[in-house]
């Protein structure tokens, strides 16, 4: 038997998986008072995986008979996912205690989802992508419903589960048709078959179904309606983790499948995705204008951001993929930071989720208010923050590839979004506090996450050049 395994290609995922098994065993063998260590164990696993992923950089290895690769695109996304997961774990330390959630189980589920995410962005075979997608989705269904005493959390879990499983079925049917049309599920070979043979209608149907599956997972209009309910109902830490890491993983696979396997069909998908990008940005931003709940607002905002990233896919090429990766990194830092600020401002299990809860926060918590302001400005795309440079690269890539009108609509949308991102800021600085809230102490871990997010957002905004260079490494075919 000669199997070209190359285990080091999946080393980051293996390390996370190993720490997952240890956390699971720790949950049942450690006394309840010691379970806090499981969070540190999870952090060590994530850090170890990040170190290994950084060591693989530049080698462009592929393994398991070209079913997984460790190319620049995959490793960059792996690092984004690990960063997002590590920051979420830090946010979760005190959150799980305050909300009385099962510590070990929580971290184990997060790690399991991370294994799936890493698999998804490094896989080059549709079946492996599907398995990774399920490995990331199943723990997230449970995490969304994790607050079993809270009916809203359970409802979020049920909705996420039903629609996620529905989307998976579409995705899988797409794989079946691509397999039927080309006789392979390997992305590189699909491209070769499609390039050599006349147009295959079966593969075209498959592409459409794959697109529907991806559209559900990254929440593109018209497959976005589950997002606000799930984001609002799920525990805030889970929402934070979902909104960034799932997006990075699903977009990673989305880009890889469409740019590596289906560039021959670009004429069929480019214009369609451009229209979807316009609808997604516009609907996300307009709906966010109408929200009074911050979690719901951030949910619609995440839909709008998916629209911006989709512009990068329409732009195609190295610039498209690179600008999307940069944007995902900026979005991960910014959004996690924003949710971190929401968690920092909560009072025990009571959270500031309505807009008028933010009244006068600047007086009580000036540092958190300043951090949240910076992060919201970055989400809105103001310079000199990461959100601005990210949008700049994406719109630049669109203009270069001849989709200038798409960039114009993107800019207009950013203008609309400034209105709702600034509303909490106005509340914090210009409205008198309503009272009834205890003077709160921000947990050190949460403060640390906020600091990282703000520093990262500033650094990416002021010196983006080295990062965009790393992000534009492209695919290994």
């Amino acid at each position: 038997m000669n199997l070209d395994l190359n285990l080091q290609v999946i080393a980051p995922a293996l390390i996370v998986a190993l720490s997952l098994l240890l956390v699971l065993l720790g949950e049942v063998f450690l006394p309840a008072s010691q379970r806090r260590w499981l969070g540190y164990l999870a952090l060590i696993g994530l850090l170890g995986a990040a170190v290994v992923a950084a060591m693989l950089w530049g080698a462009n290895l592929s393994g398991f008979g070209k079913m997984v690769v460790a190319d620049a695109f995959g490793l960059f996304l792996t690092l984004i996912i690990l960063l997002g997961a590590a920051l979420s774990v830090l946010l979760a330390f005190d959150f799980v205690r305050a909300h009385q959630l099962d510590t070990g189980e929580f971290f184990a589920l997060v790690l399991s989802a991370v294994v799936g995410m890493i698999g998804m962005v490094t896989a080059t075979d549709l079946i492996v992508i599907f398995l990774a997608l399920e490995l990331l989705s199943l723990p997230l269904y449970v995490l969304a419903a994790f607050k079993r005493a809270d009916k809203r959390s359970l409802e979020a879990g049920l909705k996420y589960f039903l629609l996620g499983a529905f989307a998976s079925a579409f995705f899988l049917y797409g794989i079946a048709f691509v397999f039927g049309g080309t006789g392979t599920t390997n992305l590189g070979r699909i491209a070769a078959v499609l390039g050599a043979s006349p147009r295959s209608d079966v593969a075209l149907v498959g592409m459409g179904l794959l697109g529907v599956g991806f559209a559900f997972k990254v929440a593109l209009v018209p497959f976005h309606w589950w997002t606000p309910d799930v984001y609002e109902g799920a525990p805030t830490v889970v929402t934070a983790f979902m909104s960034v890491a799932v997006k990075a993983a699903a977009f990673g696979a989305f880009f890889r499948v469409f740019l590596v396997a289906l560039p021959e069909l670009a004429a069929d998908w480019r214009a369609l995705l451009a229209v979807i990008a316009v609808l997604t940005m516009t609907l996300g931003n307009v709906a966010a204008l109408l929200q009074s709940n911050v979690k719901r607002m951030l949910a619609y905002s995440s839909i709008a951001h998916a629209g911006y990233i989709l512009i990068a896919l329409v732009a195609m090429g190295v610039n498209g993929a690179g600008s999307a990766l940069f944007y995902l990194l900026a979005y991960t830092l910014t959004n996690l930071g924003a949710f971190g600020a929401v968690i920092a401002l909560s009072d025990g299990t009571r959270e500031r989720l309505e807009l008028n809860d933010f009244a006068g926060v600047a007086k009580a918590q000036p540092l958190v208010a300043a951090a949240l302001t910076i992060l919201l400005l970055s989400l809105a795309g103001f310079p000199p923050f990461a959100g601005f440079t990210g949008k700049f690269f994406i719109f630049g890539a669109a203009v270069e590839s001849g989709w200038a009108w798409l960039a114009v609509i993107g800019v207009l949308n950013s203008l609309i979004s400034a209105y709702f991102y600034l509303r909490p800021v106005v509340q914090m600085y210009m409205v008198e506090p309503a009272g009834g809230w205890n003077r709160l102490r921000v947990a050190p871990f949460v403060a640390f996450v906020l600091a990282i997010a703000v520093i990262g957002v500033l650094a990416l905004g002021i010196v983006p050049a080295p990062v965009i260079a790393l992000a534009s490494g492209g695919f290994l075919k």
Partner: protein, 118 residues
């Protein structure tokens, strides 16, 4: 070839014919003396009580799901067993890792009390 399936068709016809004949003959020739004991659902068993629409304990659900989870993994043993000699030591180690991961899940369920009925 379709004609290869002719014996199966003949078999199906014979089976249906035999079953139908047995039912018809016993319905025509058999004596008929019904009484309440004979008409009860389990003639020689316990008298039924309660409604069949009663809710069943949630524990059945947990046991059933755990059974399905550990049962379905057997699917992966079949191809492995067929190719066992060709895969050699490598296959044995792979399967040992696979089972070890399942074992972690098993230990977890056990320690969490998933197998306790009370």
């Amino acid at each position: 070839m379709p004609e290869d399936y002719l014996p199966i068709l003949a078999m199906v016809v014979v089976v249906i014919g035999f079953a139908a004949a047995a039912l018809v003959v016993s319905a025509i020739t058999g004596p008929r003396k019904p009484n309440p004991a004979k008409l009860s659902p389990y003639e020689s068993g316990m008298p039924p009580f309660g409604s069949a629409r009663r809710r069943i304990s949630i524990r059945y659900y947990l046991t059933a799901v755990l059974f399905i989870l550990f049962d379905i993994e057997i699917v992966f043993f079949y191809p492995w067993a067929v190719l066992f000699r060709q895969l050699g030591l490598f296959g044995l180690i792979e399967m040992a890792i696979f089972v070890a991961i399942l074992l972690v899940g098993y230990v977890y369920v056990w320690r969490k009390g998933g197998f306790d009925w009370d």
